[in-house]
Structure formats: C-alpha cells, structure tokens
C-alpha cells in the first residue's frame, strides 16, 4: 500500500474536533470521494476525535491518503495516552457509554468505515485506525 501524503494534527479540545472535521472533509474531497462517502468519513472522524478528547485526554490524528494499487482511500489513525479501555468488546457494543452519550460512537465509526482496528491497554492509551476505500 502506498501512502500518497500524510499529516499529523493534535486532538485536544472540542475546537480541534471541529477543525478535524473540516480538514478530513478537504482530504476526502481531494481524494475524489463523493458527498455521501465524504460525510461518512467525516462523521466517523468526528466520533473518534471526540472520544480522544473526552476519554483519552487528548492525542493526535494521523491523516493519510493511501493507494493500494487499484483503489484510493483515506486512513485515519487516532492515538492517545489516556486511561485506555479495559473491555474492548463491551466498549464496541451499541448503547454502552461511560460518558453519558448515546453509546453509538465506536460501533457507528466502525460501520462507517471499510476497515476498523482498535487496540487499547489500560493505563497506556488507545489507538483507533479506520480506512475508507473509494
């Protein structure tokens, strides 16, 4: 897989979440995604960015425009050094929330992307990587 270009931005406040939505939309447009696809990528990014701020205590986002030879895509990697998630299976379950939200963010983001990986260690942080192909 080729990485055409990449950028790292910090994710520490709710203003950053707004900025990330705008940035990810720009990247999706540049990679030629249509409006529905753009909205899916942006919405998934918004969910995970907010988790990074609210639960992870802030972190970083790596945006990459990727190419696997036949298709182009956008890959987003969120990383934080927060408390981590003790039970990933439970966290991914729809309707489960520790923050008073709807509990659909993680599962929703997974359904909005083609590839979704999450890894977390309690006390060390969380990493979410999602990719959407054109």
């Amino acid at each position: 897989m080729d990485i055409e270009r990449s950028e790292v931005i910090r994710v520490t406040s709710s203003e950053d979440v707004v900025r990330i939505r705008q940035l990810v939309r720009e990247w999706a447009i540049r990679s030629g995604f249509n409006l529905v696809e753009q909205t899916k990528i942006v919405t998934g990014a918004s969910e995970i960015a907010r988790n990074t701020v609210n639960h992870g205590g802030g972190g970083t986002l790596l945006v990459e425009a990727v190419n696997n030879g036949s298709r182009r895509g956008i890959r987003l990697t969120f990383e934080d050094k927060g408390p981590g998630i003790a039970d990933l299976e439970l966290a991914m379950k729809d309707g489960y929330s520790t923050g008073g939200g709807l509990g659909l963010g993680l599962g929703g983001a997974k359904r909005l992307s083609n590839e979704f990986e999450i890894s977390s260690r309690p006390g060390e942080g969380t990493r979410v990587r999602m990719t959407r192909w054109k």
Binding site: K40, V42, E47, G101, L104, G105, R111, L112
Partner: protein
C-alpha cells in the same frame, strides 16, 4: 544603581537624532508613520522618568504605568495602519543602537559599559515584547466578540404561522451552542403557545452521535412543554450516515425539506392550502 537615567538626560538630543535616522533608514515602502518624532520623544521622556526609580527589570510595576500606556496606544494605532506586530516591536528595538552608543560614550570603564548595556538591552526587549502582547490581546478581543455575535446570530427562532415555529440551525452544534438553541426554542414555545416546532438542519454539515443526541434531547424537552417537533432538512448523505451510526430517531417526525415539514405542520394544525386559478389564465 543604573546610570541609564543620567545617560538619557545628558544625551537625549543625540539619541533622538540617531534613533530617527535609524528609523528612517529601515522605513519600508509605506514610509514613516505620522508624528514619529513626537512619539520617539515621548518614549524617551517616559523611559528616563520610569527608570529613575531604579527598577529596570519589571515593567509591570506602577512606575512603568505611563510607559505601558504609551506602548498600548502605539501598538493599537500601528496595527490600525496595517503594521505587523514585529514592525511595531522593531520600533522599540531600533533604539538599541543609539542608546548603546550613548552608554559606551558615557561609561567610565568596560565593566560599567557591559553592565549598563546588558540592563538596557533587557529593558528594551521587554518593552518591545509588550507591544506584541498588546497586539495579540487586541486580536483575541476581536475573536471573542465575533464568537459571541455568531452565537446570537445563528439561533433565531422564527414564527412561521399561528402555532408553528421554525428553528433553522446553521453550522457546528457544539454543546455550548446547542444549549442556547434549546433555551431559545423552549422560551419561544412558551411565549407563543406554539404546538409545532420545525427544527431544520439543512445548514448543519455533520450529524454525528453527539449532534443526534442534542437534537433528541431538544425534541424531548419541547414535547414536555406540549409542542411536537419535526426535524427537516435531512439530506441523503446525512440520512445514510445516521443509519450507519445506528441512531434511532424513535417517533420523531422527519422530513427531507422545510417545505414538506411546513405543509405537514399546517395540515396538523387544521389548515388546508387551496390553489386558486390565476384570474388572467
């Protein structure tokens, strides 16, 4: 005790001439700002006055009040003329050369010269940086005011018809704004006794789970006050995203466009629309 006040007093005229020459040399295409000589003279007077107290390190102290005031005015007026913060700070820094030259001429020995130069340099640095701070603060004030104005502007509740309200939402629905939106809608429901409120999200670019939750809460609160809500302006991409997110809108009525929502609201309120033949047809 620093010799700076004495140096300034004895060599004021010479320093001023040199400083003005320095400024004229470095002036860009825009030329020199008006009243330059007056400003320079006032600056030197303030510098001599304030440093007479012996405190050359902390410009936050009261003896530097008038100097800070002078720099604030300078920074504001320069900014208005289009100067960058570094250009304004450069005005202060350009005094270094003439001032150091005067210190060198007045110093009795090399230790005294080094000490005095170091002190004067630190002092001019902090005065120069202060102009940058003022510049920055002016910008922050503008940003804050604009934020407050946007918050007000973007949450109008409109009365469409007897008993029908509309709330066109535009932009980002962060928690602070949603609070304002919800409050103004509920207030207007009480005020007008409306039975139906249309919340239009055509202007909301992203509907994620948080935005959805805010919307559902607003609908629930309005319902408790006796008003039904219709959410309109759900574009195809938003509809698909909401489905993938798994957000259930429950029994909330939704419509693709505000026109559809309004027509439903009229019907529910017992109105019917009749189209008359135009007279000249």
């Amino acid at each position: 005790m620093s010799k700076l006040p004495d140096v300034l007093k004895r060599r004021e005229a010479g320093i001023l001439t040199e400083w003005l020459r320095e400024l004229k040399q470095s002036a860009g295409l825009r030329g020199l700002p008006p009243n330059l000589e007056e400003t320079c003279r006032a600056f030197l007077v303030q510098l001599a006055q304030a440093s007479r107290n012996g405190n050359l390190t902390d410009i936050g102290k009261p003896e530097w009040n008038e100097m800070r005031h002078l720099l604030e005015e300078l920074s504001v007026s320069r900014a208005r003329q289009g100067d960058t913060p570094s250009e304004t700070a450069g005005f202060v820094f350009s005094l270094k050369q003439p001032l150091f030259a005067a210190i060198r001429d007045e110093a009795k020995n090399i230790e005294e010269m080094a000490g005095e130069t170091w002190m004067a340099s630190r002092l001019l640095d902090s005065l120069g940086l202060y102009t940058t701070e003022v510049h920055q603060k002016g910008r922050e004030d503008i940003i804050q005011r604009q934020q407050a104005e946007m918050m007000e502007l973007s949450t109008p509740v409109v009365r469409l018809w007897e008993g029908i309200l509309a709330l066109p939402l535009i932009g980002t629905l962060d928690s602070e704004r949603t609070q304002t939106v919800m409050e103004s809608l509920l207030e207007k429901i009480v005020e007008t006794g409306a039975a139906i409120a249309i919340i239009d999200i055509t202007g909301v670019p992203t509907v994620d789970t948080l935005v959805a939750q805010h919307l559902l809460k607003t609908v629930a609160a309005a319902r408790l006050m006796g008003a039904d809500c219709i959410i309109s302006g759900i574009r195809p991409q938003i509809a698909q995203t909401i489905v993938h997110l798994g957000v259930g809108l429950g029994d909330v009525i939704t419509k693709a466009s505000m026109a559809d929502a309004f027509s439903l609201a009229l019907k529910r309120s017992g109105y019917s629309l009749i189209r008359h033949q135009p007279e000249n047809a």
